[in-house]
């Protein structure tokens, strides 16, 4: 906690409130860009090999639907990619309660009450997996975030976590371990 003066009043005052939708969206874009440039870069060659070449969308789709081997390859590669994306978010949120994109906007992940566990951090990002029923969260999460009072995603409600923004009365933003629950 911040230092207290002789009157018992804290030098700095801050509180954690729900993170804004726009900031969260922009933070997500930044994270995806970082993921695309780093973690997913090795998969570009293999994606180029297995995905159909030039042609209209209908032609590519018809080629994929007519080729079970190609479907299997796409599933394997997309599952591998989604696991790495999930690990990016899960590991960083577990260790630091934030990701580069979130940190840029001073957003953090907090657990309801207890210390954030790895399972909670991973559960928040399960919608990346192209496996039923997890990919359904990709539709449910943003819808819930739009209509929920605290801008919480369905995944966050299920994992008892929330993305918060610290509103401080002073300019310094504490990175104190006490802040992490």
């Amino acid at each position: 906690m911040a230092k207290k003066k002789w009157l018992g009043l804290p030098e700095q005052s801050f509180y954690a409130g729900p993170a804004g939708f726009v900031k969260r969206f922009l933070a997500f874009i930044i994270d995806l860009s970082i993921i695309n440039l780093t973690v997913l870069f090795p998969f570009r060659r293999i994606i180029g090999n297995i995905m159909p070449g030039a042609g209209t969308f209908q032609e590519s789709l018809a080629r994929i639907l007519s080729n079970e081997g190609l479907q299997g390859s796409i599933l394997i590669v997309s599952t591998a990619i989604s696991v790495f994306v999930l690990l990016y978010f899960a590991v960083l949120e577990f260790k630091l309660q934030t990701t580069p994109g979130k940190y840029f906007f001073r957003l953090f992940v907090a657990s309801d009450g207890k210390k954030l566990t790895f399972m909670q951090a991973a559960g928040r990002s399960m919608f990346f997996l192209p496996i039923f029923p997890f990919f359904l969260l990709g539709i449910a999460d943003p819808l819930m975030m739009i209509f929920h009072k605290g801008n919480r995603r369905l995944s966050e409600i299920l994992t008892k976590t929330r993305t918060v923004e610290y509103y401080a009365y002073s300019q310094s933003m504490p990175m104190d371990s006490n802040l992490r629950q």
Binding site: V39, F41, N49, M51, E68, S73, F84, T98, D176
Partner: protein
């Protein structure tokens, strides 16, 4: 109580930790993507002519043989359907190297070839006889080497009959059945005259069906086909004279025909059975076991000596 230095260190550490995590994940991703290339199929999108193998004895699904090469109708028909629906595939080449096999399986594959609405070429390698020739005849064009063996338009059904051996060893075979011809084809008693006549009648019908299919596919008079449908095989050169083969040549001639007919640059796309890790393991294990029992296995697996009655084209 925290010092400024500690506070600054803590403020820097998130970026360092983030960089470490991203670096480790990237390295692991490189390793995984490299290994994934062994498990993914990336060859088909680069070609425009499907090359579908018909190799080995043509057996119906569920039938087994000690031979390693079996042409499975469900796999071949699956490849044909895939190639037919793939907009990138402009023609289909059946690479045939088979002595024939099951009449039903051969007919199924031939019908699937005829149902394809794209240019089809049957390229006969060493052997394309009997049921394999039935399949080849369904294609638009047949290309064979002058030394390929083809033809053998006939039907055979043979089995070992052990009644003499049982008699020598004073073993009695008790027949219990309901239905006059239920025991027909039993290896433990001689075939009756009426039974033989029935069998041969059915074989004749099959033979006629075979001749009819070849005549229709090759657009030849049925009588002309019947004259050469003695079960005799022909070398490619003779087969061309008889009208069973269109072009003498090999892969180069196949490519030439397609490029002239379709005005394309041919790029073959092999359609192959994707062996899983367990397929590879079981193949290794079975080839080892096969080597050990090779002599016994071969003698037992000779189709002419099979106890089970099977009708083959």
């Amino acid at each position: 109580m925290k010092t400024d230095k500690t506070a600054k260190q803590e403020e820097r550490s998130p970026w360092r930790t983030m960089l470490w995590v991203i670096a480790v994940l990237t390295v692991i991703a490189w390793l995984v993507s490299g290994s994934l290339s062994f498990f993914t199929d990336d060859s088909r999108e680069n070609g425009n002519v499907a090359l579908i193998p018909v190799k080995g004895v043509i057996l119906g699904d569920g039938q087994m043989l000690f031979e390693q090469d079996i042409a499975s109708p469900s796999e071949i028909i699956g490849f044909l359907e895939d190639a037919a629906q793939d907009p990138g595939i402009e023609a289909i080449v059946l690479e045939i190297n088979s002595p024939g096999g099951s009449a039903v399986a051969s007919e199924e594959i031939a019908n699937a070839v005829k149902a394809v609405n794209k240019t089809t070429i049957a390229w006969i390698r060493d052997s394309g006889t009997s049921g394999a020739y039935w399949i080849a005849s369904a294609a638009d064009t047949i290309v064979a080497s002058s030394m390929s063996i083809t033809g053998s338009i006939g039907v055979t059904a043979s089995y070992l009959q052990f009644s003499g051996l049982l008699k020598d060893y004073n073993i009695t075979y008790e027949q219990l059945y309901a239905g006059k011809f239920k025991e027909i084809g039993s290896p433990f008693r001689p075939l009756g005259i009426e039974e033989r006549r029935m069998f041969e009648e059915q074989l004749r019908e099959l033979h006629q069906e075979f001749i009819r299919a070849i005549a229709e596919n090759r657009k030849m008079p049925a009588d002309d086909v019947e004259k050469i449908a003695t079960g005799m095989f022909f070398l490619g050169k003779k087969a061309k004279e008889l009208g069973l083969v269109d072009v003498i040549g090999g892969k180069g001639e196949v490519r030439q025909i397609l490029e002239q007919k379709l005005n394309i640059t041919v790029a073959f796309v092999p359609y192959e059975h994707d062996a899983s890790f367990f397929d590879i393991l079981s193949r290794l294990a079975s080839s080892q076991s096969f080597s050990v029992g090779r002599g016994i296995g071969k003698s037992l697996a000779d189709t002419r000596m099979s106890q089970k009655l099977e009708i083959r084209t």
